[in-house]
Amino acid sequence: MKYLCLVYLESGKLHAVADRECLACGDGLRKSGMLLAAEPLYPVETATTVRVRNGAVSVTDGPFAETKEQLAGFYLIDARDLNEAIQVAAKIPPAREGSVEVRPVRELNP
């Protein structure tokens, strides 16, 4: 079962965890065969929101809601069940600075 672990951090803490540590975490997960993808993101100020309404594309700056914590990166993992996914999420280094939201990945219906 796939889970997306979304890493949230306050703006001031985006660099609280050294890149080196995050790389090591990704390497470890990759070796265990559980990691499908993982990427850090640039801060939310660089975000662009795209919507399509009545066929017209609208592009705006930033996300639509101001929140204290922002999406800082993600890990897409393959775990046996939620318990295993939680164990992985707890090992993601920024979990101790911000939070990690664990979301089960849904299969699209053909």
Partner: protein, 419 residues
């Protein structure tokens, strides 16, 4: 001849009922494991009992009703799946695969008891909302109907039903596993289970709102759950919690007067205390304490045990109680524990010493909205003859209480001040 048949049928029906009461939760727990789905298991459970009602009067009661019911339920579910798939030709291959990949077949009593433990830990999984943990546990583990749970928690039934549906959906979609946690996770996960049980107990013992102080059914359910847990997993803190509930519950008959008014511990008729529950509670506390691996529930049970040991209020060993609160404060520092310790200190060293501690807590900004802090302060001021302060604190407590019998008690105390 016919009469004999009718009588026989009636006694079989009684047997089916008795088996339902004693076995339905066990059968459900195993069916959830075999079918991997709460709703499918519940349906299979009903189908199995329907089949028992049809077949047992005709063929006789099987020698092992539990395993008969598990097999019948599993068969009905697989049969239902097969039938459903037949109308959906695209999935024919999938259906065959589903049935071929059968989980390990039901075997023996040991795995059935494991299933009950799996069910408890799944219903109390920390990834579920706290109120959903409680609702799901009462429904799946205790077998209470949704309406019964809704009534007990003074929650509209549709709200409660929705909570249960959401929890089951999360279990399925997020794949919360049906398992007893591994040794290294056990302590943390057991905490959640114990919290759910204690919450159910307290809701029954001292309803936070509403007109009756005791809602016996919930406390009884919580004690039943506690016993089940101790049977299945004899961890010290599970024993401590069961002891705590038994010792508190032993005072039930003495806690309220005939008109439903609150009777405080000091004024209770101790001959009304349930000695059998006390004996069981004391035994469990001793066992938990001797493990050296106890926690906050065991210490609270030990405090309740000191009260239970005193034949009359004046014989209470307050020094021992203060000492136990010291241990509890180290284990579980909280202003409420500090308040309880302050009351015990007042009993040991006099009201002045206790009041100084209560005032220090309030001066720090803690417990300002906690009705019992003001009620305790009022009581201590009254004993010191500081009537004006006592009145002010009783009045503050009155504005904070939401419970009718407690309100009457506070009003009574206020009226006594003016005498």
């Amino acid at each position: 001849m016919r009469l004999v048949a009718v009588a026989a049928t009636e006694s079989v029906l009684e047997t089916v009922n008795a088996v339902y009461v004693s076995e339905s939760r066990r059968v459900l727990a195993t069916l959830i494991r075999l079918l991997g789905d709460f709703d499918a298991a519940e349906e299979a459970l009903h189908d199995a009992f329907r089949a028992a009602l049809e077949q047992w009067p005709r063929d006789g009661v099987p020698s092992n009703p539990r395993s008969w019911l598990v097999s019948a339920g599993r068969f009905k579910a697989i049969d239902g799946l097969r039938r459903q798939k037949r109308f959906d030709p695209l999935d024919e291959a999938g259906a065959a695969a589903d049935i071929a990949v059968e989980p390990e077949v039901w075997s023996g009593d040991e795995s059935v008891e494991d299933d009950r433990l799996r069910l408890i830990f799944t219903c109390c999984h920390p990834a579920l909302a706290a109120d959903a943990q409680v609702a799901l546990t009462l429904r799946e583990v205790c077998g209470l109907r949704t309406e019964e749970i809704a009534n007990a928690f003074l929650t509209p039934a549709p709200t409660l039903a929705q909570r249960i549906v959401r929890a089951k959906t999360k279990i399925r979609d997020a794949k919360i596993p049906y398992q007893v946690p591994a040794r290294e996770e056990l302590a943390e996960r057991l905490d959640t289970v114990l919290r759910v049980i204690y919450l159910v107990f307290n809701e029954g013992y001292a309803a936070s709102s509403g007109s009756t102080v005791t809602r016996r059914d919930l406390s009884g359910e919580a004690i039943r759950l506690g016993r089940l847990l101790v049977d299945l997993l004899p961890e010290p803190e599970a024993m401590g919690l069961l002891a705590l509930m038994l010792l508190h519950d032993s005072r039930r008959a003495a806690r309220t007067s005939a008109d439903g008014d609150v009777v405080l511990l000091d004024d209770q008729d101790r001959s009304l205390w349930d000695r059998q529950q006390i004996a069981e509670g004391l035994r469990l506390v001793r066992q938990a304490l001797s493990s050296q691996q106890f926690g906050a529930y065991t210490i609270q049970a030990a405090i309740a045990a000191v009260h239970a040991d005193a034949r009359e209020a004046s014989a209470t060993d307050w020094g021992e109680i203060v000492g136990l609160y010291d241990v509890l404060l180290r284990l579980n520092p909280s202003p409420v524990v500090e308040l309880n310790r302050a009351v015990a200190v007042a009993m040991r060293d006099g009201p002045e010493a206790g009041l100084a501690l209560v005032d220090a807590i309030l001066a720090r900004g803690d417990l300002g909205d906690y009705r019992l802090a003001h009620a305790a302060r009022a009581e201590l001021c009254r004993r010191l003859g500081r009537t004006g302060d006592a009145r002010a604190s009783f009045e503050r407590a009155l504005t904070l209480t939401r419970q009718e019998p407690e309100r009457r008690l506070l009003e009574r105390r206020l009226a006594e001040l003016s005498k």
